[in-house]
């Protein structure tokens, strides 16, 4: 009969357990750091959101005031040209000539009812002219852009389309450029800021539904009573029916 001594734990087992312990602690620390980062981000996000809201309202009121004053003085108030255009693809994928097809691809409008934000400049306007019969576009309001990002916002991570569920996702990609939350992102998109390209590119193409109560008729331009082409501010009502 072997005498039972104190239970011996082999050295290899002890070392393995030590290694597992270490890994567990490192993991706990990492999650703690993430929590701290998240709460700091939340406080910052709140402050930023307030600031931007003030800014948007300020802009709207000043513009209203200017128009009212001009009217009073029998003058014209020329508003600045909108910086950002929202383009929505109206036509399906069949029977598109090569050049418009290429332009649609450049704009990331690869599918019916896809929507993207586009800078407003000579170059892009010329491109839009090429694809006029296949898209409708206009100048989105702050509310429209907000809605798009909140409800239909997906971001490009590792060439994958990942839902935008947390500010950490934005901070991870754009943090170095000072954009840490959704409101920062929306602000860049609305005002066509210095990081418009990065913010817009981070966002995957918006995939909208077909509009409730439908289109007029897609075969003619908006001006003619149909749907395609430039519809300026009226894009907002359409997109709100598609979100």
């Amino acid at each position: 009969m072997v005498k039972k001594g104190p239970k011996q734990v082999p050295e290899s087992v002890r070392k393995l357990q030590a290694r597992i312990e270490q890994a567990k602690q490192a993991k706990a620390k990492a999650s703690q750091d993430l929590e701290a980062q998240k709460s700091a981000l939340a406080a910052e996000a709140q402050a930023k959101a307030e600031k931007y809201l003030a800014e948007y309202i300020h802009k709207e009121t000043t513009s209203n005031q200017n128009r009212a004053q001009a009217k009073k003085n029998d003058q014209f108030w020329v508003e600045e040209e909108p910086k950002v255009i929202l383009v929505v693809r109206i036509k399906g994928i069949n029977k598109i000539a090569p050049k418009p097809r290429k332009v649609l691809k450049l704009f990331r409008l690869l599918q019916l009812h896809n929507a993207v934000l586009v800078r407003n400049n000579k170059a892009t306007r010329n491109m839009l002219r090429l694809i006029e019969p296949f898209v409708t576009f206009g100048y989105p309001s702050v509310q429209t852009i907000s809605k798009l990002v909140y409800k239909r916002g997906f971001i490009k991570v590792n060439n994958q389309r990942i839902p935008l569920n947390d500010n950490v996702q934005i901070s991870a990609v754009l943090g170095s450029k000072g954009i840490h939350c959704v409101e920062d992102l929306i602000h860049q998109l609305v005002t066509c800021g210095t990081c418009f390209k990065e913010c817009n590119n981070l966002l995957w193409t918006f995939k909208l539904s077909s509009p409730i109560h439908g289109f007029n008729h897609k075969r003619t331009s908006f001006i003619q009573g149909g749907d395609w082409g430039d519809r300026e501010k009226k894009i907002n009502t359409l997109v709100n029916r598609m979100i």
Binding site: S12, Q46, A54, K151, I162
Partner: protein
């Protein structure tokens, strides 16, 4: 250096008596290469075949000729002549009744296979090594629970003269179970082999390996079902791994066992009887993969286990899901509050809401005035007075 493991040689006559101990022959440590054994067995098993074929002229012993076209019949050769039902019937083709078969079997089919000598030797070495692994022997189906040692080496088994004596010896060394298994398994063969001199099938029992060709045991084993005997100088893969399955239960005679090193050689010396034969060296020096993986040298350089990446949450609609909105925009709750103030509510509730709003807005004096501007914008005229009061109070 570890000492070579040692095999006990038992005395055949007296149950359990140890005669001597013999160091393990190198063959029993040869790598167990099932792939080689399978290949060699598959090919060597073909060598005992007898040719079969149909007769050369079967189906052609007619003077049939095709009638050609234009007679509203198929162009198959037809039996010449008349006056019998057989006339004008199709002949010669494999599709015809009484025609010759498609591709009549020929006797010059390649029945036998040549296997390289080295491969044959490696296979035999592997099979001998496998017979020393109790797990493999049991897996093959042999009943070896009572056998004292695997490999089982008996001194004096070659001298046994009578069958019943041999049975006693084998039974006393635990081979009785395996013999019983073989004896019980004698059954009529299924199929035509019954009438072709292969009437009964029987399981394979122990294999006796002997050294002396004139040993008396060679007559004694013949009537025991399932038992084979083979000379150690003429080991055959067909006997060592019947059906290509490794791990036959072998009962060695002492002389045969001791001759193994001489026949196959060792890892330091090539075989003498199998001239120049060098045992295969194992690919892995240390075959315990689990031990290698668990060793410190490996564990220390492993990266931590990758957690399966969390599947991305489904998109939660922030306009419906309050938690989702809170995650993205913590200000939204407050904004809603302010908008609620805009709605027609009792004065008391309005003041309560204002107080809440004020307490939760971040007190950055630079932004304070802006906030008040906001409140002014959204709140009704009546309540603006309250705001002014608040402003004055600050």
């Amino acid at each position: 250096m570890a000492a070579r493991p040692v095999i006990t040689v038992f005395d055949a006559k007296t149950k359990g008596e140890v005669k001597e101990t013999v160091p393990l022959p190198a063959v029993l440590t040869a790598p167990i290469r099932l792939d080689i054994v399978r290949f060699v067995h598959d090919n060597l098993a073909k060598n005992k075949r007898q040719p079969y074929a149909v007769s050369e002229w079967t189906g052609h012993q007619h003077s049939a000729e095709s009638w050609g076209t234009g007679r509203a019949v198929a162009r198959i050769p037809r039996i010449s002549g008349s006056g019998t039902g057989r006339a004008a019937q199709g002949a010669f083709g494999n599709m015809c009744r009484s025609g010759r078969m498609f591709a009549p079997t020929k006797i010059w089919r390649r029945w036998h296979r040549k296997v390289n000598l080295k491969q044959k030797r490696h296979a035999v070495a592997a099979a001998v090594a496998a017979s020393a692994v109790p797990a493999l022997v049991m897996a093959r189906g042999h009943q070896i629970d009572s056998v004292p040692e695997i490999p089982l080496v008996l001194d004096g088994i070659e001298k046994v003269e009578r069958t019943k004596d041999l049975l006693k010896v084998l039974a006393s060394y635990g081979a009785g179970d395996d013999l019983a298994r073989a004896a019980k398994s004698v059954t009529l063969r299924a199929g035509r082999g019954k009438s072709r001199n292969r009437r009964f099938t029987v399981r394979r029992g122990p294999l006796l390996v002997y050294d002396d060709d004139k040993a008396s045991v060679l007559k004694a084993f013949r009537n025991i079902p399932g038992v084979d005997a083979v000379s150690v100088h003429k080991l055959s893969i067909l006997k060592l791994a019947p059906g290509g399955t490794l791990g036959r239960f072998i009962v060695w005679s002492a002389a045969a066992f001791k001759a193994l090193d001489h026949i196959f050689g060792t890892y330091t010396q090539t075989g003498t009887e199998k001239g120049g034969y060098q045992l295969l060296r194992p690919v892995m020096a240390h075959a315990d993969v689990t031990a290698i993986v668990k060793s410190e040298a490996v564990q220390n350089v492993l990266r931590p286990i990758k957690e399966t990446p969390e599947a991305h949450d489904r998109k939660a609609n922030p306009y419906k899901n309050k938690k989702a909105m809170d995650r993205l925009n913590p200000f939204h709750k407050l904004k809603k509050r302010i908008e609620m103030i805009k709605a027609k509510r009792s004065l008391g509730k309005q003041i309560f809401d204002l107080k809440y709003v004020f307490s939760t807005l971040t007190l950055n004096k630079y932004m304070l005035i802006d906030k008040l501007e906001i409140l002014l914008q959204v709140i009704n005229n009546i309540y603006a007075k309250i705001i002014l009061w608040l402003r004055n109070a600050l």
